[in-house]
């Protein structure tokens, strides 16, 4: 399910971090599935409540390993196979490769991690942002709940009511909200 699929959502806007967090906790407890939340800055508690984890550090480790292997293969091919030059009687497959290996591992690790981030987060130059509420990059916190087909009118009204009850200052509906 990606952001481009047509979907309809209910959102609640909060203006206080503590109220917002306790609302999230209560909603999780009552079994209302939170689709996404939007905050102006990272809140570690949000990740805990939603049970979010990322495998990016593992990916970065794999990228760095790929980096070191590729770089060594290149150095070995150029300096030992393709055009070996004996400098001061030293071996062509030399320990001083370690410096370039070190730097290129970092180089390749950074570039691939960055590309991975942009791909999984679906970010890119000029992408138009689908903003649920104008304040999410300023001082508002937004909880989004998807209105599924199975949901009856009463269900969505109950969600609206619950959001207000938990301290939302504004509740509304919005189509096409990303879940990434």
């Amino acid at each position: 399910m990606v952001g481009t699929i047509k979907n309809n959502n209910i959102f609640g806007v909060f203006d206080d971090e503590d109220v917002f967090l306790s609302a999230m906790r209560s909603m999780e407890e009552t079994g209302i599935r939170i689709k996404n939340v939007f905050t102006p800055y990272p809140i570690p508690e949000v990740f805990r409540i939603m049970g979010l984890k990322t495998r990016m550090p593992y990916a970065a480790f794999i990228y760095a390993t790929i980096g070191v292997i590729l770089t060594y293969a290149f150095l070995y091919w150029t300096s030992v196979i393709d055009y070996p030059v004996i400098i001061g009687g030293k071996p062509t497959n030399t320990l001083s490769f370690v410096i370039i290996l070190f730097v290129m591992t970092i180089n390749i690790g950074i570039v691939m991690s960055l590309v991975t981030f942009f791909i999984i987060q679906k970010l890119g130059p000029g992408k138009s942002a689908r903003i649920v509420h104008k304040g999410i990059t300023d001082d508002k916190y937004v909880i989004v709940i998807e209105k599924t087909k199975e949901m009856s009118k009463e269900d969505s009204q109950r969600i609206n009511y619950t959001l207000f009850e938990y301290g939302a200052i504004e509740v509304g509906e919005k189509e096409h909200v990303e879940n990434i």
Partner: protein, 456 residues
């Protein structure tokens, strides 16, 4: 994910989240002040001087510099090392303090990273110009060529420099830009101007601040930080090895790599101090860059200054203790006494003695004095590179080779040009980019201040 407890107030003045947004994007939204225009014109003038000097260097050759057979490296290399040193500021601040989870970096890191990017750009110009035939610069890249193909020398510190510095520039720029994406989104959503909305919208890459986005964003910051931190050490170690792997007296020492790395962080921190004092005064950001921030940087500087003093003493001690008469001559007859005493004592006084004043709380609290001392450190670090490059080269093993060195107007022009480029870059940064990381300051507001956080 990366939550740690902090002590003390980092954001003063009872700021709400909305206040932070408004305060930081205010310079972008309002017209440029007069001082900005004058400073910009002056920096463009300096830059044009540098363009002229570079044109003369490239069209006529390195003969227009004051170099000679003995002193084959002059201002070009001095300034290259100086700029690279300053370029260590952003990384030292953002990355080291990020991986050790120091919250006070948040108001300073953006400006420090900007400094890094501009300083490394300035540094990179010198080796390119120094090549003489700049249109042959691509020869330093390992690419399949028609000369064998013969490859570049992968065992040479000069090639390591190419790899390390270009990687460092890329890594710093990436780290800087990624950190700005959420702030560009803030400007996109706040600005009233349609043009700004379009530009910052484009630059913000469609950022919306979702929970998963923030989680991955923080993970990416840690990955970039973790990968770039060892790079900082390696970049300046490699610069040191440009010198240390030669057999020149005064250069051929094992202390050089750590000594250069510490020196670089020293000059970087002092440049951060210089710029942050200007920024907080001119833009009235005392609530974000508080006295305790300045105090913390001053404390770090006094510590690094002690290490610098130790490094200088170690060099002098080893020159005597090793029994090498060439080393002894270089240190005792060509630095402590001889033709270059001004640079040597300038270096000792500015780097090892003056920063010791930061032991006194009264001095750390006096912003004007702190500013002046930070300028002394910048100057002292320039002297240090001058001492290293020029004294060793001017009097080597063979007295018939001895010669003195004075820079020409062309060399000075190239240096002034890079200063112009740097200041020009910083001014554009102050105008068009939020100079304090908005989302990071918001992230630390709650645990580090006792005010209201929300506009009611």
């Amino acid at each position: 994910m990366y939550n740690t407890k902090v002590r003390g107030v980092l954001v003063e003045g009872n700021k709400s989240y909305a206040d932070i947004t408004r305060d930081i994007i205010e310079p972008i939204e309002s017209k440029v002040p007069d001082w900005w225009k004058y400073a910009f014109i002056i920096s463009i003038g300096a830059l044009l001087f540098g363009v002229w000097a570079s044109y003369i260097t490239i069209s006529e050759g390195i003969g227009t510099w004051g170099l000679n057979n003995s002193v084959a490296w002059g201002w070009g290399i001095i300034n290259f090392v100086w700029w690279i040193g300053i370029g260590h500021a952003g990384t030292a601040f953002s990355i080291f303090l990020l991986i050790v989870r120091q919250k006070w970096r948040t108001s300073i890191n953006r400006a420090a990273e900007a400094m890094t990017v501009f300083a490394v750009l300035c540094a990179g110009l010198f080796p390119l110009i120094h090549m003489g035939r700049i249109w042959m610069a691509f020869y330093i890249m390992p690419y399949p060529n028609t000369r064998g193909p013969i490859w570049v020398n992968f065992n040479s510190p000069l090639f390591w420099d190419v790899v390390a510095i270009s990687t460092y520039l890329m890594a710093s720029a990436v780290f800087w830009y990624v950190g700005m994406i959420p702030d560009f989104a803030t400007i996109r959503d706040k600005t009233a101007s349609k043009i700004r909305k379009a530009i910052y919208g484009f630059l913000s890459f469609g950022w919306v601040g979702s929970a998963r986005g923030w989680l991955r964003f923080e993970a990416l910051a840690m990955i970039l930080g973790g990968l770039t931190a060892p790079l900082v050490i390696s970049v300046h170690s490699i610069v040191a090895m440009d010198f240390a792997t030669s057999v020149m007296p005064g250069w051929h020492t094992t202390v050089f790599p750590p000594y250069f790395v510490i020196g670089a962080i020293f000059s970087g921190f002092s440049m951060v101090l210089t710029l942050m004092i200007i920024i907080r005064t001119v833009y009235k950001y005392q609530s974000y860059v508080t006295d305790s921030h300045i105090n913390a940087i001053a404390k770090i500087l006094v510590f690094i200054s002690l290490i610098m003093g130790t490094a200088y003493s170690t060099e002098i001690f080893i020159a005597w203790y090793s029994g090498s008469e060439y080393e002894y001559y270089t240190f005792f007859n060509n630095r402590i006494s001889g033709d270059y005493t001004i640079a040597f004592y300038g270096m000792i006084i500015c780097n090892a003695i003056i920063p010791q004043l930061f032991w006194f709380k009264k001095i750390r609290k006096n912003i004007i004095l702190v500013f002046i001392i930070s300028l002394f450190v910048n100057l002292g670090m320039w002297f240090e590179r001058y001492v290293i490059v020029v004294t060793s080269l001017s009097k080597d093993y063979l007295p018939s080779n001895w010669s003195t060195y004075t820079p020409t107007v062309v060399e000075i022009g190239v240096y002034v040009g890079t200063l112009g480029l740097f200041i020009c870059g910083v001014l554009l940064f102050l105008k068009f980019i939020p100079m304090i990381a908005i989302h990071e300051v918001k992230g630390i507001l709650k645990p580090t201040s006792n005010g209201r956080y929300h506009k009611k």
